[in-house]
Structure formats: structure tokens, C-alpha cells
């Protein structure tokens, strides 16, 4: 109990990932959906850092860096698209984006 091992971090990562997935599934506002995806990426980062620490390997930290870089560029592109959409349709709800429905 008092000794924190790799499993503790993996369980924490699972919990945070579940929270992020719940957010992705129940959010309708796209901005708040982006917040949920940030939670997903961060929970994976915790798992990477923990595995890197407990196996004495730097690869996990490297992957965490690249995940952070991808998250940053995703936010930039996503917010740009969101602003375009908002100026055109005046809302950012997912319901109004179902024009590709068959």
C-alpha cells in the first residue's frame, strides 16, 4: 500500500483515460470535446513516464515529448477550424455538423 509501484500509475492512468472517454462521449460542444481529448493525451503521458521510470528507460519520456508536440499542433489546427466554423454557422455544436450523414 505504501510502496508506490508501476501498477499504481497504470491504474491512475486508466482512471483518467476513462474520465476523458466519458467526456468525449457525452460532450456536444466541440470546444469542451477538445478538453476531453487533452485529458486522454495526458493520461497516456503519465503511463509513459511511469513505465520509463520503473524500467530505467528513456524511450517512454521521448514518446511523451512527441505526444505533447502533437497535442500542441492539434490544438492550433483544431481551434483554427473551429473559429472558421463558428464564424460561418454561429455555433460549435456537434449536432449541426452532421451534413455528411447518409
Amino acid at each position: 500500500m505504501m510502496e508506490i509501484g508501476l501498477n499504481h500509475y497504470l491504474v491512475l492512468s486508466t482512471i483518467l483515460f476513462a474520465i476523458g472517454l466519458i467526456g468525449v462521449m457525452r460532450r456536444k460542444n466541440l470546444l469542451l470535446l477538445f478538453f476531453a481529448t487533452e485529458i486522454l493525451l495526458n493520461s497516456v503521458n503519465i503511463a509513459f513516464a511511469a513505465i520509463s521510470h520503473y524500467y530505467g528507460d528513456l524511450t517512454g519520456q521521448m514518446f511523451a515529448f512527441f505526444v505533447i508536440a502533437i497535442a500542441a499542433s492539434e490544438v492550433a489546427v483544431g481551434l483554427g477550424l473551429l473559429i472558421v466554423w463558428h464564424k460561418r454557422h454561429n455555433n460549435i455544436d456537434l449536432e449541426h455538423m452532421s451534413t455528411m450523414r447518409g
Binding site: 491512475l12 469542451l32 478538453f35 524500467y55 497535442a71 500542441a72 492550433a76 464564424k87 460561418r88
Partner: protein, 191 residues
Amino acid sequence: MFEAIAFYLFAFLTTLMFFITVTTSQALHALTALAAGMIFISAFFFILGADFLGAIQIVVYSGAVMALYAFGMMFFDTTREVKEKAGNKYIVSGLSIVAAILVVLIFAAPMVTDNITALYPMTEGVGNTQDVGMVLFTKYLIPFEVAAVMLLVAMISGIVLAGKKMDLSLTLFSTAEIKDMKKDKEKRVLS
């Protein structure tokens, strides 16, 4: 002992903050809770001895990403309450938890079954930042450069999409306007 206390404290705080982020109906509360959660996550990196990663987490997430979201929220109408998708709560929660456990199992299964050895082991007597630098600029140089190009692409696309000359941008026109423009062009070519 100290590590355990810190772990449980920050685990509780992070979970609470992210829970607020996904459940609140106020966009501003969600943003603030997300920023707090990001900072609490950096505490885990410091506990795990990944100092550089923790610093990057604070700088990039709490600094850059949160500022970007704050700017984005100025464009949107965030004062009204956010409506939620009407769906079965239990199905959503159950599916999410099952999916999360599956993902972690995919992560953990190869490590449990075969004894993996460190590909780039940490060097003794060297700080974490120096160690990261040595591996990043020798073994991961090409991915590093590719990531730099990707960030450049993201920057350019951000400028193009949300730039000042929005009224002249193709992405803003409706399909009818674009068709009209094409007709005009054809006319010009023909005449």
C-alpha cells in the same frame, strides 16, 4: 512514505479536476479545472524523476495550450450553459471504462509477458535534462525534426484559418459563392 502521500494527494486532485472538466456545464469552469489538472499532472512527472518532462508539461500545457484555448473562447459564446448529449449515462460510463482498461492492457501485456530490456538506459550520475538531451539529439534526431516541421505546418494552418483576412478566404464562402466564383473564372477564360 512521502512519495506515497504525494502520489495519493495528486492522484485525488487530478481525478477531481478532470472530473469537473468533463461534467461542468460552464465552459470557463472546465477551462480552469483543466489548467489545474495539467499542473497537478506535472507533479507526477517530478515524482517519477522526469524533471524536464514536468517542466515541459507546465510550459506547454498551462502556458501555450491553455492560452490558446482562452483566446479561442473569446471567439465563441461561452457564457451560455452547455447542453449535453441526451443518452444513457450507464452505457456511456461502462463503455468508457471498458475501453480504458483495454487500452491499458494493450500497453501492459507485452511488458508482463516478455522481459523487456531498456533500449536507451538512463546514465548514472547525469541529470535528467542532460540525459534527455543526449538521447533526443542522437537517437531521436529525425523524429525531432519531423515534429518541428509538423509544428510549423500547424502554425501556418492556424494563421491561415484564423487569420485577419478571413473575409477573403475560400474556407468562409458558401458553396454557392464558390460556384459563382468558378463561373466568373470560366467566363473570363472564354471571353
